[in-house]
């Protein structure tokens, strides 16, 4: 028995060490790719002249689709913010997804809407459209409101896709604040490059404590809430160091549902958003990429690192837990739906690297982490823990977590320089030092819960409570 235990311990220690080495190596390689991509992006951005694009009759038109469900407290301001975006040919489509509150009525009153007989080309299936509204005021000529029977976010986005008249569609969360030049910057990859671009994703930044007036970001501030500050670090790491690297390596599997632009024709031909997953944003990108690869069509998916989209991050552990739980279920659903890609050389980087990375380091990471912890506790009970190995490994993981977080601060400092006060840099550093003890265990817990809920077949989104950007707003 003792021999078996010794051998098992030796095997398990080795497996954990290999897993740690693999995860560290993949993060370092991704960071290297991100750094190269960021440098290249910043060099190119220097020669961009937004005014030319703004003034040109040759600029492509873009339809911005924003689903809204029970957003009465913020909808009027949010739509105002979307209408203020600078772009020459922008169509703003708000899809009221069967809200039970006053969302639609408030929009009708605020924008002087009236129903119009506009037929829809039903290329994608979705719930019935009750009515299509346009504004009587010429100033809002580019605003369209769709009122439909409730069917969820994916269903609302598919409705928008059918109604949109432009070749490109920007899908956003209605409560996000976009910078004025967001569309101009995000549309750039579609206008150049050797291979046609089918989708671009943007960085999402945390807007908690930032000053926002009339739907416009006035000044960027570090969140006062520690939980939101942890998320600032998380988002910088995920977007600037993760997705930027995957984009460079041509392996980007996720464009955040909060803000992305797509080639409408490809999105529709690939089948639009999937109603049966809570990770509809990731699932669509994977399906669009598969559509192109399986037909041997040249394409590319790009990522724009500029801070263009600002969102309110959950400021309580309860709400954050629901969000992360949903993200985990969405990841699992998408990975299982496209399991054909796993280590399939036909899908190149996507199948050989991106998919395995998401499987082992996103889906299974919390499971492996909790298994390691349980293993240590069992050894402790048996009186046979390898203290020095466990502590060394913990030290390595902690040191690496600190290193990656400081690297994220470094990336932000030398690229977009968002937090100008020196005090904010120290606050970020403090968050980096505390994160592995306070925030990370919770993330693991929600990851596990997400796995359990997936096995139970849970499909709901869960309520997201937001305080809103304006003073004293509380929405549900």
């Amino acid at each position: 028995m003792k021999d078996f235990l010794t051998q098992f311990t030796w095997f398990f220690d080795g497996a954990i060490l290999v897993y740690v080495i693999l995860i560290i190596s993949s993060y370092l390689i991704l960071t290297y790719y991100s750094a190269r991509a960021l440098i290249e992006y910043l060099r190119k951005a220097k020669f961009l002249n937004p005014q030319q694009l703004m003034a040109s009759p040759l600029s492509p038109s873009v339809s911005l689709i924003a689903p809204a469900y029970n957003e009465a407290n913020t909808i009027v301001e949010n739509v105002k913010s979307l209408l203020a975006i600078q772009y020459p040919q922008l169509e703003v489509i708000i899809v009221n997804d069967g809200s039970k509150d006053q969302t639609l009525q408030l929009l009708i009153d605020a924008y002087d809407l009236h129903a119009v007989p506009q037929p829809v080309n039903y290329r994608l299936k979705h719930q019935e459209i009750r009515n299509i509204y346009k504004s009587s005021k010429p100033v809002y000529h580019n605003l369209t409101i769709l009122d439909k029977v409730n069917g969820g976010k994916a269903d609302a986005l598919n409705t928008g896709l059918n109604v949109a008249t432009s070749d490109y569609i920007a899908c956003i969360d209605v409560d996000c604040v976009l910078s004025q030049d967001a569309i101009i910057k995000m549309i750039q990859p579609f206008l150049s490059g050797k291979k046609p671009c089918i989708a671009t994703g943007g960085v999402i930044r945390i807007a908690n404590s930032c000053v926002i007036e009339n739907g416009r970001l006035i000044s960027v501030k570090m969140p006062d809430n520690l939980l939101a500050r942890f998320q600032v670090l998380e988002y910088i790491r995920a977007f600037l160091m993760g997705r930027m690297g995957w984009s460079k390596a041509d392996g980007l599997l996720l464009i955040s549902g909060a803000f992305g632009i797509f080639n409408k024709e490809i999105a529709i031909k690939a089948g639009g958003y999937d109603h049966n997953t809570v990770g509809e944003d990731m699932e669509l990108i994977v399906r669009m990429r598969r559509y192109m690869i399986e037909r041997e069509l040249p394409y590319r998916v790009e990522f724009i690192p500029d801070p263009l989209c600002w969102t309110e991050a959950p400021s309580t552990y309860k709400v954050l837990g629901r969000q992360r739980n949903r993200w985990m279920r969405g990841t699992i659903e998408t990975l299982l739906q496209h399991k054909k890609m796993f280590f399939n050389p036909k899908y190149k980087v996507l199948g050989m690297l991106s998919y395995p990375y998401w499987l082992f380091f996103e889906w299974l990471a919390p499971v492996i982490e909790i298994t390691g912890l349980l293993y240590f506790l069992i050894l402790l009970m048996l009186g046979q823990p390898n203290y020095i190995f466990s502590m060394s490994l913990f030290g390595l993981v902690y040191a690496f977590a600190i290193f990656m977080s400081v690297l994220a601060i470094f990336f932000d400092e030398f690229t977009f320089y968002q937090y100008k006060r020196i005090r904010d840099v120290f606050r970020l550093l403090a968050a980096a030092l505390l994160e592995p003890f306070i925030h990370h265990p919770m993330i693991v817990r929600w990851g596990i819960q997400g796995n359990i809920d997936f096995l139970k077949g849970k499909k709901s989104w869960g309520d997201m409570t937001r305080t809103g950007f304006g003073p004293k707003k509380a929405t549900k």
């Binding site: 060490l17 060099r43 190119k44 220097k46 020669f47 002249n49 030319q52 694009l53 003034a55 040109s56 009759p57 040759l58 600029s59 492509p60 009236h114 129903a115 119009v116 007989p117 506009q118 037929p119 829809v120 080309n121 039903y122 009750r130 009515n131 299509i132 750039q188 579609f190 206008l191 150049s192 490059g193 050797k194 390898n386 203290y387 020095i388 190995f389 060394s392 490994l393 030290g395 390595l396 902690y398 040191a399 690496f400 600190i402 290193f403 977080s405 400081v406 690297l407 601060i409 470094f410 400092e413 030398f414 020196i422 840099v425 550093l429």
Partner: protein, 379 residues
């Protein structure tokens, strides 16, 4: 390295622990990561000081340059040299323009100022660019091996109207890097008065939509350009060149190109065909487009949709033809035809037509929805 690992092993043993293989390496790697993190954070802090220092230096520089430029623009000097020999200018030149950083900042500031000025004032700033020898920096940049330096140099030479650089810039107009190529083509339109589009003759690399937008903007800003015909390139073998000039022929009203554009409507490349239709629409060539109807009627639906849309813009109202399109299986074609018919016929009468159509036609569905939405709208 082995020695360091050995020392670490000994140290761990001295603490009373049993050391297995690789532990010292893990600990040393962890320490290295922490050390690197500290170094990165220190760099971030130091960069803040450097950033502040540079901001102060730029303010001092701009404060010194600004009065001199204002003096040049509004000081009524007979010849440029009168200003150039002013003691203040000489002092500024000695203090700032003999260092690379000063010259780069000068180009940056003058470039921003020049973009806001026109006519004689803009020419005066170009004269400063020449007289101070800043052009040498730009020429040095376009000779660099790094694409972003080349692009920067081309941009500066174009902005300051440095026509002497045209031969060097022309060599870069088919550069493999899109930014360099695009900026070189832009600069040639700005600088080359004799043959601004000569780069289209032997272009091999693509012209992106972004470059088209850039070139179009540059063409608009140069009223002296004679843009009466693009015939020279409408038969080019390079599809991107044909697409570019087809678009420009419409935007610049090159009526002389109408016969060639009419031929391009039947081009195998969908983009070119659609652009030719749009250009003919911009030229008001309804007759030329009407003649193409029989040839396009059973072809690519995308091209036919564009044709119907363009004909609609030109006031086309042949009821028989429009009703024929109403029977199309393609939603977009039937919808376009319906929209045009609505301008001359009653909606109710048109919607009743749908009842006689087979189910595979797109119009019955459009009519059904239209009726439904009409009911909802008037409810």
């Amino acid at each position: 390295m082995h020695k360091v690992i050995h020392i670490a092993d000994d140290y761990i043993k001295s603490l009373g622990f049993t050391v297995t293989d690789g532990i010292a390496e893990i600990l040393l790697f962890s320490l290295l990561l922490l050390f690197l993190a500290a170094l990165l954070f220190l760099t971030v802090l130091l960069s803040r000081f450097r950033r502040n220092y540079l901001a102060r230096w730029k303010t001092t520089f701009d404060e010194a340059l600004e009065p001199l430029i204002l003096d040049l623009l509004y000081g009524n000097y007979q010849v440029f040299d009168d200003w150039w020999k002013l003691p203040g200018v000489v002092k500024f030149e000695r203090r700032y323009l003999r260092k690379k950083r000063g010259r780069n900042r000068a180009i940056e500031t003058l470039s921003i100022l020049r973009s806001r000025l026109e006519g004689e004032n803009a020419s005066l700033l170009s004269e400063v660019f020449r007289k101070t020898g800043l052009w040498r920096d730009s020429i040095r940049r376009i000779k660099s091996r790094l694409w972003y330096r080349q692009a920067q140099g081309i941009k500066e030479l174009g902005e300051f109207n440095y026509v002497e650089a045209v031969p060097q810039i022309r060599r870069l107009s088919d550069h493999p890097q899109e930014e360099v190529r695009s900026l070189a083509q832009l600069a040639l339109i700005q600088l080359d008065d004799s043959d601004p589009f000569s780069f289209l003759d032997d272009l091999r690399n693509p012209i992106s939509r972004h470059t088209t937008i850039r070139l179009h903007a540059a063409m608009l800003q140069k009223p002296s350009l004679e843009l009466t015909t693009f015939a020279r390139w409408l038969n080019s073998r390079h599809p991107d060149v044909v697409l570019f000039v087809t678009r420009m022929a419409g935007l610049f009203n090159a009526a002389a190109d109408e016969p060639l554009l009419a031929k391009l409507v039947l081009h195998e490349n969908e983009e070119i065909a659609k652009a030719a239709i749009l250009s003919l629409e911009q030229l008001g060539a309804q007759e030329a487009l009407t003649k193409k109807i029989p040839l396009l009627d059973k072809g690519n639906p995308e091209i036919l949709t564009q044709l119907i849309s363009s004909l609609g813009q030109l006031g086309y109202s042949n009821q028989r033809q429009l009703r024929h399109w109403l029977w199309s299986k393609e939603y977009a074609i039937a919808h376009q035809a319906f929209q045009l018919l609505l301008l001359t016929e009653e909606e109710d009468k048109l919607l009743r037509l749908a009842a006689d159509m087979p189910d595979d036609c797109a119009f019955p569905e459009i009519a059904r929805q239209r009726t439904l939405f009409n009911k909802l709208a008037t409810r």
